[in-house]
Subunit: 110 residues, 2 copies
């Protein structure tokens, strides 16, 4: 796993991006991040759920409980229009940030 410090601040971007296509619940988000990053990234439950509350409080996402018989209830989150704007801004920030690190530290990307 990557140095935990590196991940700080990037998780909201990942979550917003994953909610861009469709609504998903917390556990699903954590699994998707692990699978799509090929195990490089992982978001612990104890980081994820509090983060989802913060993001909901900021109105970037909106959650609703979905109950199915014989299943633990799930909370599905969907991206709001404000969240979509934040996502676009964060993608830009991230690209700019990566470029800056590259210029200073001389890192190449394949």
């Amino acid at each position: 796993m990557i140095d935990r410090e590196l991940k700080k601040g990037t998780t909201p971007l990942l979550i917003l991006a994953l909610l861009e296509q469709e609504a998903r619940h917390g556990y699903e988000l954590s699994k998707l991040i692990e699978v799509r990053s090929r195990g490089v990234l992982s978001v612990h439950a104890a980081s994820l759920y509090p983060l989802l509350y913060r993001m909901e409080k900021q109105r970037w996402i909106r959650g609703r409980w979905v109950e199915k018989a014989g299943q633990r209830r799930r909370r599905y989150y969907q991206l709001t229009s404000a969240g979509a704007e934040v996502l676009a801004a964060q993608r830009n920030s991230w690209t700019e940030f990566v470029g800056a690190i590259s210029r200073v530290a001389g890192v190449e990307y394949a």
Copy 2:
């Protein structure tokens, strides 16, 4: 400026990379980071100096005081061989990390 949370954990990489070529002092490092990142990144003094102590304690860098008449004394840091290994590892980590974010969040690099 970039979201402060994003920067967490990347500053050691920047410092190690800047010391790869020659020994530099703290203030010079902070200026170089600002200039080479074209203002995207900046390391505040209150973050930089404690970080330099930590890195020296870990033997990634070695500092020595240089006094010049009529000038504030400066502490020059040079990369150790252990530091060079850490630098290589951190460059790899960073590249891997950026690739992972890209796969999950669908970010493109120019």
